[in-house]
């Protein structure tokens, strides 16, 4: 009988133990599931937020990059313009000071203009203060152009004053052709043709 009692006690105790163990297992699962659910929600939400933020970041940075490019381009254009303005001032100064480089160029500018035109009779429109200098060089210019064109060329100084800081406008005597070799025209051509080269000089070179 005692044996039976002890067996019954054992069975009951086992059952009690099993109930508590089962509850502990369930409890552990509830906690584990909660952690898993939290991790899953966190992961999903973080992915969603990061995707959203990444899209904002990309958009913002792209806009900022475009803005930077625009600012950089504007700045470079301003600086190039400033260089051209400074060059124009230098040209005016050279003309005013009757610089030998300018005087020698004036002769060459006249020859170049006449060489690019057809015919043999030309007039040079120049600034009044350059007329005396060019008048002295007329025969030499005529000779140079005549030799190059292989025809007898005549060149006179026009009574019409040049409306420019310097240089020359050569016109055929029949008025049909005109070659604008003023300093402004040449500067404009430099701007049009040589901008990359000038930008390279202005912005190039090693860092100090």
């Amino acid at each position: 009988m005692e044996d039976l009692k002890s067996k019954l006690k054992f069975l009951r105790e086992s059952e009690v133990k099993e109930i508590v163990e089962e509850a502990k297992k369930q409890a552990a699962k509830i906690v584990t599931d909660a952690h898993a659910k939290t991790d899953e929600i966190k992961k999903r939400e973080i992915e969603r937020i990061m995707k959203n933020v990444q899209s904002i970041e990309t958009k913002d940075l792209e806009a900022a990059k475009s803005e930077q490019k625009r600012r950089m381009m504007n700045l470079k254009l301003q600086l190039i313009e400033a260089s051209f303005a400074a060059s124009l001032d230098r040209l005016k100064q050279m003309v005013d000071e009757l610089s030998p480089i300018y005087r020698s160029s004036l002769e060459n500018l006249t020859v170049e203009a006449a060489l690019h035109m057809t015919g043999s009779e030309f007039e040079a429109i120049i600034s009044p203060k350059d007329s005396e200098f060019l008048r002295k060089k007329l025969k030499q210019i005529e000779k140079e152009v005549s030799t190059a064109k292989n025809i007898a060329v005549t060149l006179i100084i026009s009574a019409e004053p040049l409306r420019s800081i310097g240089g020359v406008v050569v016109r055929s005597c029949d008025g049909k052709q005109i070659f604008n070799n003023t300093l402004e025209a040449r500067l404009a051509n430099v701007r049009q043709e040589k901008l990359p080269e000038i930008a390279n000089v202005l912005f190039g070179g090693a860092e100090p």
Binding site: L4, A27, I30, R186
Partner: protein, 134 residues
């Protein structure tokens, strides 16, 4: 004394008295109480686990949890943008400084181009304007 016979799990037949049966019933009642207590303990354990789970989930179920993360990330982007803009400003400043250093050299180069390309080089170098009057 009343006696009876009981078969044990080991299939032995044992003699029991009524008192034994009474004792067994009393014991069984005691055991039922233990069982009930065990079930209550189990319920407590599970309830506690559920409370713990609620606490664990509270963070992510809190409506301010993710918006704050979002704001934090947006602030990070703003910071990155500010850093980038500062770098850009520095780059602009560098360009300005370089241009200031090269200004004289550039003006000299432009002047050279304005006076260059005359005579033989002609239009291939400097395209001066030629217009024909009809």
């Amino acid at each position: 004394m009343l006696t009876g016979r009981l078969a044990s799990s080991s299939r032995r037949v044992i003699d029991v008295s009524i008192d034994d049966i009474r004792n067994l019933v009393a014991k069984e009642k005691e055991n039922e109480t233990q069982l009930k207590e065990a079930q209550e303990e189990a319920s407590r354990i599970i309830e506690q686990a559920e409370r713990q789970a609620k606490v664990i989930l509270k963070d992510v179920e809190d409506p301010s949890y993710f918006p704050s993360l979002h704001e934090q990330e947006i602030r990070r982007v703003e910071e990155r943008k500010k850093v980038w803009e500062t770098e850009c400003d520095k780059a602009l400043e560098k360009v300005k400084n370089k241009a200031a250093r090269n200004r004289q050299k550039t003006v000299d180069h432009i002047i050279k181009l304005v006076f260059g390309g005359q005579k033989t080089n002609g239009r291939s170098q400097i395209e001066a304007e030629v217009s024909e009057r009809k």
